[in-house]
Symmetry: C2
Subunit: 243 residues, 2 copies
């Protein structure tokens, strides 16, 4: 079925035996399709499954009192959406689809079996939640220390590499189905200022974002603007290390 093909694809420390690959396919109980802009889970929900994203975009966010929200993460194909809900049995933020999304359900009992019998595979699952935490830290840095131009640039660098990693970016072009409002919620900016910032990047020939797609024309310059270092993505050695 190959529904797990993109899991940890392109990342270091992701060597899997044949048995482990088979075991991974078998943790999936079913695959469901979620419509775009649909709330998948809410803060406080109890979980008995975790979900792996096969296709589409999903975001995780927290609401503020004033009605605005803050994205804390987004998931692309190959990402577990809420594997952290396995040890906690509970989620502490909201989850919603951005596009139509195909997600695989993974019952927690099956993960218990993996923990009990396949420690190396269990460690890889743990690793994938730790990648998430590494991304969170980088987001703290991005929002806490960079100005608007840097934040958007950093966001685009990260997304470009993550998409390339799972074979969904070619020559700096990739799907980016986020509105300027969404981008603002990810970067701690208003949609108006995101608009002005994207215009600057466009006018300087660094990157273009329009109609659900992004085109990074000058990755090196974008990375400089965003003080971006791909270290935290734990990428395999490959063409991305040249940037």
């Amino acid at each position: 079925m190959d529904r797990m093909t993109d899991f940890l694809r392109g990342r270091r420390r992701s060597e899997l035996t044949v048995e482990e690959k088979a075991a991974l396919e078998n943790v999936i109980s079913e695959v469901v399709v979620v419509p775009p802009r649909h709330v998948i889970a809410r803060r406080g929900d109890r979980l008995h499954n975790s979900t792996l994203l096969i296709d589409g975009f999903i975001c995780r966010y927290m609401d503020a009192r004033d009605g605005y929200r803050q994205l804390v993460s987004y998931q692309i194909p190959g990402d577990f959406v809420d594997l952290h809900g396995y040890p906690t049995r509970h989620i502490d933020h909201d989850i919603a689809s951005l596009t139509e999304a195909r997600i695989a359900l993974v019952p927690h009992e099956r993960l218990d079996a993996v923990m009990a019998t396949m420690p190396h595979l269990a460690k890889l699952l743990w690793f994938s939640t730790i990648l998430d935490a590494a991304l969170h830290r980088e987001w703290i840095f991005r929002i806490g220390r960079l100005d608007a131009l840097g934040r958007v640039a950093h966001f685009l660098c990260e997304t470009n590499l993550r998409m390339a990693c799972v074979g969904r970016a070619v020559d700096g072009r990739f799907a980016l189905p986020l509105t300027q409002q969404d981008l603002g919620e990810a970067c701690g900016l208003t949609s108006v200022h995101v608009n002005r910032t994207l215009r600057r990047l466009r006018e300087e020939g660094v990157a273009q974002v329009a109609r659900g797609y992004a085109h990074v024309q000058d990755f090196a310059r974008l990375a400089r603007i965003g003080e971006f270092d791909p270290d935290y993505l734990y990428l395999e050695d490959g063409p991305w290390h040249k940037v």
Copy 2:
């Protein structure tokens, strides 16, 4: 020796058998003392041990180009400092002590043994790294969506509960050995503005921070200002739920 006494203390999902407690004590190979304001590990280092903080304060941070830094986390007694370095074997940010700190070293081979033979305990270790990620998400929210007053208030709420959890806060009073510069680096503010913000909290009788100590006088109001919901700390039912 009881060096692990504070690990996951006061958190849900932290029920341990006698054997597991003993195993936890045995993962420690040695205890070392680190002087204040001392760099413990640097971005890019390879790790063969993880460290548990027994006493003192430690912070984790990332440097920006302009010389400023962004704290991404700080650890108090009972926290693992870099357990995430076990699955990754590598750290992606800098770690330094704030005060003198007693830390326990945990060789990764011993964690391999736990993974292979004690899946329930392994799941608790995983859980503790997931608590870290939950804190990261809350920091993203804090910095991305709150103004200066809210950020500092949220920070104080979090610290108060975490310190209370390990028996180090009484009646809203606890050690806070961070300078205003440090607080700024944690909240994405300058030390000057932290100073003005603390003054406002002091003048309104909500909280006082001075000389390495904090005193939260009105937790409920502080929580309202900081839009603080303790859900993400996974606290046991207890007096903290009254706030």
